[in-house]
Amino acid sequence: MDLFIEGDPIADTRAPDGPIETRWERRRFEAKLVNPANRRKMTVIVVGTGLAGGSAAATLAEQGYRVKSYCYQDSPRRAHSIAAQGGINAAKNYRNDGDSVHRLFYDTVKGGDFRSRESNVHRLAEVSVNIIDQCVAQGVPFAREYGGLLDTRSFGGAQVQRTFYARGQTGQQLLLGAYQALERQIGLGNVEMNARHEMLELIVVDGKARGIVVRDMVTGEITCEFADAVVLASGGYGNVFYLSTNAKGCNVTATWRAHRKGAYFANPCYTQIHPTCIPVSGDHQSKLTLMSESLRNDGRVWVPKVKGDDRSPRDIPEDERDYYLERIYPSFGNLVPRDIASRAAKNVCDEGRGVGPTKLGVYLDFADAIDRLGRKAIEAKYGNLFEMYERITGEDPYEVPMRIYPAVHYTMGGLWVDYDLQSTIPGLFVIGEANFSDHGANRLGASALMQGLADGYFVLPNTIANYLAAGPFEKVDASHPAAVEARRDVEDRIQRLLAINGDRTVDSFHRELGQIMWEHCGMERSEAGLRKAIDEIRALRDQFWQRVRVPGDGEGLNQSLEKAGRVADFFELAELMCIDALHREESCGGHFRAEHQTADGEAERDDDNFAYVAAWEFTATGQPSVLHKEDLNFEYVHPTQRSYK
């Protein structure tokens, strides 16, 4: 059987044409509006309370819609956006260093290795400036200069200082800003908040997304919830690799269930491997911890020049060290984009020059910066990160260089959306990391926060009105056949998982799946490896459904049951990721195919054949997916081989 079938092309029919800097303005003008009296009659479900979901729920409620918000955590404040460390990009040009909306647009398209849509990225760059204004007004305590104005710093893939930050906890502060706006709306009675609730199915009525099936994770109760539109802001799927920088609960279930109901899944193989994470220390490892990219502003990355050099790093003289990023990429140095820094680390480790007990690590050394700026200055900038490193490794990074290694961090792929952020299911909108839209094949640092808040505060609240203008839609309740069926599917699946009562735990399967994915669909992919992975995933998935043991019942808090449902969906996603990676016979951004590299080992894109978005349509379990291609056209940024040398 073929792995997939090629179907008709797909197009984004919502993006206006004309000069790129006028498109968002035009779309906002041409989109229909909903008058305030009618907004009160309409309900929007928002799944997820991170930067995208939290900001969207708050903003929609401010506009007068009735909002129902869901998150699996015990509070909306805990969504994983909170862990973002480094910063948020905005084209304010406060530094007078040549930044502009057009440059942020250009850097993002180039950074994404020419696999994103120009219209979307330009809009993102435009609204970036409003995000900073909004967050400052909310009281977000950004870092400031002595004059009281905002400080900025550099991030990878940019030669300007456009990254706003709040020490190493920018995500936390931005999320708390959105969370507080959301809590205000909850307090006013405009948002019904449902924490510890997990979306397990999408309800589609007459072709429109009209609700979700949720499980109350405390009581086990399963209910159908209805609305005029559904917004998924459920984050990325990096946990398919088991080990990642994602929170333990991050999962693909909301988007995968929507995919199975008809929403196309775009570019699932585009995964971001972050270069600066604390290396794995043993088999017990349950997650990986990121060390912010901002550290590369002052830290220098190096390995010994010769392999097998086991001396302590402080005993290795300067001329026996290889500052390989500075050597290979002199113009960007330690601040090359993430995909490039990660692969370079992999290469030096593959050469046998890795450091630390596992030899899967490179040094990130602050000795020069401490000499230059003094320990106090380094403490002020990165103190919390250094402490975190010491707690986890037991080593003091002020004294010995940090050891770092790449780890799965972010997924650029996600549900396909048009310019309005609407999926292929009318009424189903997808925002933040859960969609695929803005980062192409590689996301630049400090752009995830920007996109999440752009979508939630400024884009979706405008575009969703165009859809809701046709509402309120006919009332649906739990007795509707579509709801009854969706609910029964959820209940059957839970019963099936509980009934297996096998001899392996959910985590043991998840770990094994993660190893397959890391080995074959990680930093470097090959045809042979991907084919092997697909076979292994299918075999392991069969084993899962025969041998998994989920203790307890569905009648209350059951964390094993929650995990089992998520891992079952990861199995299906993993296969699609490998198929997507296999079909994309080129290297671009985070997708590096061993067969497609230049003579000096850089990614080799094939714009003639692969300058498209791969949007996958689900057919049936065990049946090949259908590939729909959306051509990418570049009118403003001419695709070139990305060079950071």
């Binding site: 994983h80 204004d133 009281g139 305590p141 709040a166 706006a181 924490a195 707690r391």
Partner: protein, 253 residues
């Protein structure tokens, strides 16, 4: 190393609950505390027992979801460290470790080590924000903020809402949490218009949720993984006094 764990097991809100002893062997010092519990749970599942329920998510000390009383200390023995970032090198072979949930009236136990902290959200909903509807914000640089104030606001804003302060307080007070937000917002010029209504709203919600009053025991700040200082409560009290005076009420009612 080999450890003896005594863990609070409680099947649900109605169950009385009890300490149950477990043996965990071959624990690596590089494991995090929660990874050590993962090891126990994997074994319990294969032995046909219910694994121990505990809250956790980011496992990097920032989401605030984890929270365990470890040998009577909220988040365990290491200062400035959440349970998820506590590593087993802080313990030694042969140790007996007691693990219990947060215990406070406003934090009812849901199951085992999992408690309901939604009372914290109610406090925020009662005023822990600046009213700034999306789209209404002025240009960011139109209002400078003195660096010292921005930095001090950040120190308070670093609160992760884990609830350790409440669990450690002999009165079950949530004032350190409340004061951290009051302090952050009252230090920012943007927070001034709602400064006094905010503090009254939040303190009222705090009291209504069943948290106790502050008697300056100071346990909260000792266990706070983010080092929120006790002086924030002083600042809250000053604002509260000023607010109630402005309102014409008697302070402390």
């Amino acid at each position: 190393m080999n450890l003896t764990l005594r863990i609070w097991r409680q099947s649900g809100p109605q169950d009385k609950g009890r300490m149950v002893t477990y043996q965990v062997d071959d624990v690596s010092p590089d494991m995090s505390f929660l990874e050590m519990l993962d090891v126990l749970n994997e074994r319990l599942i294969l032995d046909g027992e219910e694994p121990v329920a505990f809250d956790h998510d980011c496992r990097e000390g920032i989401c605030g979801m984890c929270g365990l009383m470890i040998n009577g200390n909220a988040h365990g023995p290491q200062r400035g460290t959440t349970a998820c970032q506590l590593h087993m090198r802080q313990f030694k072979d042969g140790d007996t470790i007691d693990i219990e949930p947060w215990r406070a009236r406003p934090f009812p136990v849901i199951k085992d080590l999992v408690v309901d902290r939604s009372a914290f959200d109610q406090i925020i909903a009662a005023g822990g924000y600046i009213t700034a509807p999306t789209g209404s914000a002025p240009e960011a640089h139109s209002v400078p903020v003195a660096k010292a104030n921005a930095d001090a606001a950040f120190e308070s804003a670093a609160c992760i809402g884990c609830g350790a302060c409440v669990a450690a307080c002999p009165n079950g007070s949530g004032l350190l949490f409340t004061a951290a937000k009051v302090t952050q917002l009252s230090l920012m010029p943007q927070g001034q218009p709602e400064r006094y209504t905010r503090v009254i709203g939040m303190v009222d919600a705090h009291d209504e949720a069943g948290f106790g009053g502050c008697t300056n025991a100071g346990e909260c700040t000792v266990v706070c993984p983010k080092g929120i200082p006790l002086s924030t409560i002083g600042r809250l009290n000053r604002d509260y006094l000023a607010a109630t005076t402005k309102r014409g009420d008697t302070p402390g009612t």
